[in-house]
């Protein structure tokens, strides 16, 4: 992945407005976080290939970036985004990596479901 180019990401976000898209959204501090100390808990959530439609999409900030998708009845939000995949044919892949290069947040939208590469 490469550092986010804000204007190019905004262009791509705009291209998905008012269409049915598939969302992958996740955040995690790692399943082994519990081993780091008594008061640390492993925290994470992901949703994958949830279809939705949004009417407005904005990338904000100066890095790390935030993204908000405004939907008819609510919002999708992610923060801490640092990198994107500029070469990808279909779908917009954004991620936030910590100081050691580990993924801490991912935000992805695509016109087709994610996961075909797994095979």
């Amino acid at each position: 992945m490469e550092p986010i180019q804000k204007d190019k990401v905004q262009q791509q976000l705009d291209s998905y407005v008012d269409q049915e898209i598939y969302l992958h959204l996740e955040t995690t501090n790692g399943s082994y976080a519990v081993l780091r100390g008594e008061r640390t808990i492993s925290v994470g959530a992901f949703i994958r290939n949830v279809p939705l439609r949004f009417e407005r999409a904005v990338i904000a900030g100066h890095g790390p970036y935030r993204v908000g998708l405004k939907m008819q009845h609510g919002w999708v939000y992610a923060e801490g985004l640092t990198d994107w995949e500029p070469e990808r044919q279909e779908g917009l892949l954004l991620a936030g990596h910590d100081e050691e290069g580990r993924l801490a947040v991912a935000f992805q939208v695509s016109r087709t479901p994610f996961g075909k590469e797994e095979e």
Binding site: M1, H24, E26, T28, G30, S31, Y32, V34, L35, G44, F46, D83, E85, G91, L93, A95, H97, E100, G101, R102, L103, A104, A106, Q108, F114, G115, E117, E118
Partner: protein, 220 residues
């Protein structure tokens, strides 16, 4: 009975970091090793250093890494179960148990390795370990293979005491290190540190590459 080893873990690299050296020793002794790997570690946080993977390319890369590491360890029969990382505990447990049991009945292992249930930390580890114990519990006691479990919880020593089995892997430490490095996306940073520490005989790191410890599972 002809010796055959079965290894059951959920993520590519669990087999290397856990019983990697022990697997190499089994393979060097000519024993066939079957590895049932639950997922492709699709949700891993490590993406290589420099970052070379994204959430969508990671499973493909980890599959290649797993195949390479299996070759290095001497695993003769690698079977990927096709579950999605982080979701094993939510799957139909009976189906999972049955799949493991089918393999046990097919290959007739004499020794099985997995995590120690309750001391496996990651929910996928726990689910695979519990299902493995459940599958083995359905084998009549006199035919049941020996089950060796690794515990990685912080409270393992208080709860379980000292592991009763210690395998000296000194002779294959460098091969284990190669297998660790084969899981490149996951170990790019740690492998370099590990290699350096090993070369410098760092007392913190040396045990990692010289001894692997297991609890013989006690059936009630």
């Amino acid at each position: 009975m002809k010796p055959h080893v079965l290894v059951v873990y959920p993520h590519p690299d669990d087999e290397t970091f856990g019983p990697g050296g022990t697997i190499i020793l089994h393979a060097q002794a000519g024993t066939p090793v079957t590895y049932l790997c639950g997922t492709l570690g699709q949700m891993g946080r490590n993406m290589g250093n420099p970052i070379m993977a994204n959430r969508e390319t990671l499973p493909k890369l980890r599959k290649l890494e797993l195949q390479q590491a299996a070759k290095i360890l001497g695993i003769s029969d690698l079977r990927m179960m096709g579950y999605h990382d982080k979701t094993v505990e939510f799957e139909d447990r009976e189906v999972l148990v049955k799949r493991i049991l089918d393999v046990i009945e097919e290959i007739q292992p004499t020794v099985v390795y997995t995590y120690y249930p309750g001391h496996a930390v990651h929910p996928d580890h726990e689910a695979m370990a519990e299902a493995t114990v459940e599958a083995l519990s359905r084998i009549p006691a006199e035919q049941r293979p020996v089950l060796y479990c690794q515990a990685i919880s912080n409270n393992r020593l208080e709860a379980l005491g000292e592991p009763d089995v210690s395998v000296d892997i000194t002779s294959v430490a460098e091969i284990k290190l190669q297998a660790i490095k084969a899981h490149y996306t996951q170990t790019a940073q740690t492998a370099a540190r590990l290699e350096k520490a090993y070369a410098n005989k760092d007392p913190e790191i040396i045990p990692w590459l010289t001894v692997e410890r297991f609890y013989t599972y006690r059936w009630e």
